[in-house]
Subunit: 243 residues, 6 copies
């Protein structure tokens, strides 16, 4: 029996929750094993609340963010979450770190991958992460990289929804119904105690993407009554037997 | 048991053959009923060989083109082919003609539609056809158009491959394996006696799109050995349960 | 004292409510006179609920939609609402109708105009309306059109937010804080009894656009605490004395 | 000996002067016969100065604009200038008028064509003219249009420089050195007595495009010392024997 | 009383003069304190005249370019000009250098920032500078970067006009009237003794941008009579109370 | 007598063969001296067949790839082929390596350059190579880089055809007839023993690009009967005396 897997690239510890928490929970529920790579904890740039409280250290902030992310991953039922601790604002990876990611890709051997939008003028870590995702995907496909290892095929790369989509040039071409796992996603969201101001935002968004799902699946003449959805932009053409 | 259908918009009599003949034959083979609408015969602009022979008339050219198209549709096993005879170079439809197309759309009630690329500086009939496809799709969705009729849902519109894709801004996001019906497509192509110079072109193209299919389905690490393929650009996001 | 005015193009009766109801109410509150032109009632294509009830006529539907739109305009405090009754799905204007719009533009002499996005594959009436807005703006600027009349200057054209923004290629470059008039917009929304399924959608959207407003006005280091906002895409460069 | 010809589409009487007067004069000087089609006189929309003087009529304005255009064409040494008098703001052509243009295209049998940019939110007549240029080029290529006539090949279509290029999405991929005919272009410009405010503008522009010519032909390491240039955007790929 | 500031990123010593000298002088005149960061002197790549004279050294060229830039900054009345001396052709910054820029950003705490276009195939230093501007803006917003320091809000980033705008994909959405400070900009331009060939170019450009300013502020029906202007592309949406 | 030269950037050893082998052979036949720079051997990522055979080493694979590339260059009659051996998957160059390339550029002093497409989500080495081509072209133009050396002018950069053009945003604006050198290109292709699956692909492609050449040079009304062609995207505007 085929074993299905997926791999998520998250620039900072919390990104995977807001942007594809539903996809993670849903695919786990469908039998996939979903692994999350957090390239950084978002300790410097996405932990304002902790720093505002004062009297803290980088180590403490990282620890707090890691716990939040682990709790969220658990709520989503993720198979695994890996922290690379590469630093944020800015995130920068050397060749060794890239090879570590290639090792993970080859080990997970994902049926599909998830990452950030290609462009983000607000947050260069996000677009850098997708550069890394494309580069490491390519290396994992090289027969001459660690010869003898199982070589990666050509998994789809889905770009999950960025904040302020239009400014990022992100256009969803797939809408995923996450109604059945919404409770899990909401619980994972609530693990992000440092970013309470975003809980309602991403709930609104999931409801509105469900409206898009209903429209694109038939509208008032029979659209499917999804209540919560997530959008994704597939980078590569998909290969089918039937349109 | 659900009855599946598809609807193809062809600006001129032969367009459907080169651009989506494989999709037509394949879906027929899968149990779909595929209906083709030829908005014109391409009698003025795409029948150079007949006109060069001289001693002919518009009526004769139309007849010849119609026969070719009917033969091709038969080779593909198409459910139906409808000729609207709206004239070509330029193609222009009035409101009544649009309503006739709406009638066809509602009658066929397609699960998906196929049409030309959105932009074509070489051939304005092609892009006009897609404007019409979008406009009539919208009208067919209106509850107030011929109230009481069954209203159209939200079928996907796939844009089939134009000639000189890059000049048209066309980007395929779906690749369809047509290997099993290639013989039918090739026979349909050979019905186009006035355009022999294109037979080899579209055979080459199908082989090369199959190369793309193999790459995107896994490449040298397990890509599917498709021999012939067609590319399509889906206009609307697709709605899924699983990525 | 300068008299400020604005002019809104609404393809169908309800469009102005969802998409720029806040801008209308806010500018009225600031002393502008805002005039709305509804090119159609949306009687065929955007009145599904009424047609589903059955036992109705086009005239009745138009009447119902008109009343809703008038009520909404009143809630927003709009200066005037004009119904051109040009039909919908599809909307089509002849030269005389365009000239009527030019007459309105010249009479209102707007400081800015509002219309739909430039592209909309779901709804060709929407993009057609913006073509008309640009064309009639140009005619209103012609010194030789009804010579002697006051000629239009160069008012900005703002494109208001379409449904499924990313599919329309719409990118907001202006965010407007509508917190102080949100109650009016919500009341106007509630006038749209045939489209209850959209009330929550556009409330979510206004909240989320306010999040964008907060981010772009300073974020966690002093962003303005807007609660509701609307986004717009300015078509023309703006002329300033200071950046 | 081959006879070379070119054909210019000018939406309004003066457009050809500002935008490609240099190309006209230069190609005439090189032995081409350049024919200009003015689709309208720009009588309503581009004759503000005449209308401001008052006490005039449409007929008088047309006459004045025609004379200016004829004078300019003469200064440029143009082979022919044809006035179609189709009205402006807005410009609209019916099928018969399109066929008249096809007749001209076939008679001139141009080696290349010139027209406006594809997009122009300020002036919809401009972009409409290029739609017409593409459509009539296509019809002129149809063997079934007036069978027996000499059929058009595939002349390049160059889009000349619009006002406010960046707003029009126009990108020049050809720079033409017009230094040797600059005096003629300047004289033609000075025929446009109603638009004195543009004389300096287009002189500045020609000087600055020459700077671009110098840069792209070698810069400080040997760029050609052009003093005046014009930019064009070729629509179709060019076919060459050598890069 | 609020203290207004602005920060300019200049890849090479002279860039700020041609591209935003007017904005600098104007905002100084309006009470802003404008700080300029020159990432390099343009000593290798933009000092051809000095190198052609021969008998010089890198140190001498840097000194000459620095003096020119200081003189120009003084003519413009700039508050401060900082030279980072990071080398040019190519410009490359390490993490420490980025942090120095972050320090400057936080110290200046700009109300808006200015930098190069996002793309420039002629000059990769230019686009690299804007990558740095976006990255350092992000770092300056991080609460965990040098905790305790005042964190940056969300200042607008304006991209100033590149050479050959259309090749850079740069589109101005703001036009600034610099008539009142034109004399200062011209004097600053004349400080650039090594680039006399550009003096006329940028004077022409300022005149032509003023034409655009007049058109977009009302045209022949009341446009403002600006004589010199500069164009800018705002990267982020602006947040307003009124359209 | 002027001496003409061209310079080709090839990320991996075989790229130049498939993508511009015809241009190389043709220009050599026309008297140009064409130099090829292979930045890497493609030893890790594009040598699957060798690695699949097993029992090999990186050194052996490099050697095999080098021999293939040298043989191919010889079949094409290339003037010179230079191997920089910078490693692949990923390819990365430090400053010293860039300077080596600058040395080559200055020595060759090319009339035009060739490189990969600007974007390639499948293969980041490809787009990186074009970044390097633009950056080193810029450095080679700097009068202050190795003062005294002959400075580069402004050679055109042509982007050759990538695999799956539409996914790369590559649009050809030049079509080159390579019929007379096709045999040489085919022989060069057949040197690539590790990539037999691509021989037919690139033969099909050359035939189909010839179809485009025929269309764009006149179509059925006199297009030139090219049998094999290659497409290129010129990055910079070309400077001409005649359109």
């Amino acid at each position: 029996m085929k074993h299905y897997t997926a791999l998520v690239f998250s620039a900072h510890a919390a990104d995977f929750v807001w942007r594809c928490g539903g996809a993670i929970a849903l695919h786990q529920a469908r039998g996939y094993e979903v692994t999350i790579i957090c390239l950084s904890y978002g300790e410097r740039g996405e932990s304002a609340k902790l720093w505002k409280q004062g009297n803290t250290t980088l180590a403490k902030v990282k620890k707090a963010r890691r716990e939040e992310a682990e709790n969220a991953a658990e709520e989503l039922g993720a198979h695994d979450i890996i922290f690379l601790d590469q630093g944020d604002y800015p995130l920068e990876l050397d060749r060794e770190s890239k090879y570590k990611i290639v090792d993970i890709i080859r080990k997970v051997h994902p049926d599909f991958m998830l990452s950030h939008s290609r462009f983000d003028p607000y947050n260069t870590d996000h677009m850098y992460t997708t550069e890394i995702a494309l580069e490491t995907r390519m290396i994992a496909q090289a027969w001459g990289h660690n010869p003898g290892e199982r070589v990666l095929g050509a998994p789809q790369l889905y770009l999950f929804e960025p904040h302020q989509t239009e400014q990022m040039g992100w256009v969803p071409n797939v809408l995923l119904d996450i109604t059945e796992v919404w409770d899990k996603k909401r619980k994972a969201i609530e693990c992000m105690e440092g970013q309470v101001h975003l809980w309602n935002y991403y709930t609104n968004l999931a409801e509105n993407r469900a409206n898009h799902f209903r429209r694109n699946s038939g509208g008032q003449a029979g659209g499917r009554p999804a209540k919560y959805a997530e959008g994704f932009q597939a980078v590569f053409p998909r290969c089918v037997d039937e349109l």
